[in-house]
């Protein structure tokens, strides 16, 4: 390890500079995307400009925060190690298959949440897929990437354009059309199911009630509730109330969405971006199991991967944590049970020493 001149856990340069640069890059990339995707703003809907603007701010925030986060030594180490291991030629195809597997089980089905509690899974799955579905529609719409036109030949046929290219067409009164135009309502209902499930859990679960905090745990639910309910009001206003208060409602809806977009990089929603970035840990752990194992210097048992212990020493060095012991031994090379036993022995011996004196 001493030969390791450059500690990959340690980032160089100014954190703020780097983060600002990445934030600006993300914003610029999104602007570029909007320009290109909307065919030079030809399909850009000016009515949605406030949404696009808020998204640009969110992009800056996310880029900034993401970069800041990746500059923390443990994150940085896993990020690089994760890619390193993922791209290793002899593992690559296996890794790809495994990636598909964990994306399916962790992101699509979110099985790992179900193992914690069924109620939590219900809440999260509906929230997650409701939001993702809504995002998949609204972002392309507000960026001008997606738009709909009726056919010139027939008012009864709709055609959908992605990046200005026609991709699909369908009759106005078909099921597909109904689904397509009510997709946001479906998403809103899913989100509401999730919100109520989450609130029900949080309102009854003694453990959750003890540790939850308003800003972290309840605020996001309130925001999602506000977006969904104002969105549904819009539909109701259009179809059931002949457009009653439509303008007011649409402004209200826009405000809730914009607040959420601005909140995106800072609060609980940031985990949406963090989690996929950390799929790499899974590959790291797999590589660790296959590689050399660390052996505790006190009890001689295996307690993790050698790579993990060595990397932790790098992370600790980058964080200025100094676990070097006397006799050229290192506390990281002692397994957790032995750390506990050792502490107890040392404290017990203090008492025995005083007892033998008296």
């Amino acid at each position: 390890m001493k030969k390791d001149i450059r500690n990959i856990a340690r980032a160089s340069g100014s954190d703020t500079m780097h983060a600002t640069t990445w934030g600006l890059l993300a914003t610029a990339a999104l602007i570029g995307g909007i320009l290109v995707g909307s065919r030079g703003l030809r399909y850009f809907d000016p009515a949605l400009v406030s949404y696009a603007g808020a998204t640009l701010f969110a992009a800056f925030g996310l880029g900034y925060r993401f970069s800041m986060w990746l500059r923390r030594p443990p994150t940085r180490l896993y990020w690089f190690r994760g890619w390193e291991i993922f791209l290793q030629p002899h593992r690559f195809f296996g890794n790809l298959a495994h990636l598909f597997e964990i994306v399916w089980s962790n992101i699509v089905l979110q099985r790992f949440i179900g193992r914690r509690s069924r109620m939590r899974w219900t809440a999260h799955w509906f929230l997650a897929w409701g939001c993702l579905m809504a995002a998949a529609i609204t972002f392309p719409l507000s960026f001008g990437w997606l738009h709909f036109e009726t056919l010139r030949s027939s008012q009864q046929i709709y055609r959908a354009f992605l990046f200005g290219i026609p991709i699909v067409q369908f009759p106005v009164h078909s099921i597909v059309a109904e689904l397509m135009f009510n997709a946001l309502d479906i998403a809103a209902v899913m989100v509401l199911i999730g919100v109520f499930a989450a609130l029900w859990r949080r309102g009854r679960d003694h453990g959750a009630m003890a540790v939850q905090q308003f800003a972290d745990d309840l605020m996001p639910l309130i925001l999602l509730f506000a977006i969904s309910i104002t969105g549904l009001f819009l539909t109701a206003s259009t179809h059931l109330m002949q457009g009653l208060h439509y303008t007011f409602l649409s402004q209200l809806h826009a405000i809730t969405v914009i607040i959420t977009l601005l909140y995106l990089p800072f609060g609980k929603f940031f985990h949406i971006f963090q989690r996929p970035a950390q799929l790499g840990v899974d590959f790291y752990k797999r590589a660790g199991v296959e590689g050399e194992q660390a052996v505790c210097i006190r009890c001689g048992s295996m307690y993790g991967s050698r790579m993990h212990m060595d990397d932790l020493k790098r992370v600790q060095a980058a964080l200025n944590i100094n676990y070097q012991l006397a006799n050229d031994t290192h506390y990281q090379d002692v397994c957790p049970p032995c750390r506990r036993k050792n502490l107890a022995l040392i404290q017990d011996n203090m008492w025995k020493s005083t007892a033998s004196e008296s």
């Binding site: 443990p74 003694h206 540790v211 963090q274 950390q278 840990v281 100094n322 676990y323 502490l343 404290q347």
Partner: protein, 207 residues
């Protein structure tokens, strides 16, 4: 209990596991016990010791967490991992100087002692310290411990070059200022003590 602190005295532990059983009864853990109870070396002695989270002032577990999943409350309690964030990497498990966090393989997450936050945040004692019959785990006021115990509570530790301050205190004989772990003890290395202090056969040798 107002202004209560947590005090640990490993040497008093009788290994009854009341703490282990009670821990799982707390609403924040529900059937999963977060406390460790170590049998030090059963062949050599009956010594056992509990280990709860010491709630470091600057928790190393949180520093090494790649996911920002470990947070401290304003009252200084280091919480269990935040479920939306924890990615089960075990950095905290392997870095904690006290060996506290537990990786729960079934949920792919770290869980650890949170001082029964549902109880201690409303002035109740944590489960383990409520039930502990030996005084190895005690939750009371500083005044009370100073009045009733023969040792003194300290909260400074040194692991190699790393000085750690904890919210939880450890009871030590007077004049000890810090628990210094500079050399890992395989057995008792203190020269003043008998080599095999708990061997009944040695005690009987001149019978």
């Amino acid at each position: 209990m107002k202004n209560a602190e947590f005090f640990i005295d490993y040497s008093r532990c009788i290994g009854c596991e009341a703490c282990v059983q009670a821990c799982g009864e707390c609403d924040t853990h529900r059937g999963v016990s977060m406390i460790h109870l170590e049998t030090i070396a059963r062949r050599e002695s009956v010594q056992t010791a509990p280990q709860i989270c010491m709630h470091c002032e600057d928790p190393i577990c949180a520093q090494v967490c790649p996911a920002d999943a470990i947070k401290k409350t304003p009252d200084g309690v280091v919480q269990s991992s935040l479920k939306p964030r924890c990615i089960g990497c075990s950095n905290c498990v392997m870095s904690c100087p006290f060996g506290v966090p537990k990786y729960q393989i079934d949920i792919d997450q770290m869980m650890k002692c949170d001082m029964c936050y549902d109880r201690s945040s409303v002035g109740k004692k944590p489960m383990c310290a409520t039930v502990c019959p030996s005084g190895a785990l005690t939750y009371t006021t500083m005044q009370d411990i100073q009045r009733t115990r023969r040792g003194i509570p300290i909260n400074e530790w040194k692991f190699g070059g790393e000085v750690v301050h904890t919210k939880v205190y450890v009871m030590v004989p007077p004049e000890v200022e810090r628990v210094d772990i500079n050399l890992v003890q395989i057995a008792n290395t203190d020269a003043a003590l008998p080599r095999d202090p708990y061997d009944v056969a040695l005690m009987l040798e001149n019978a």
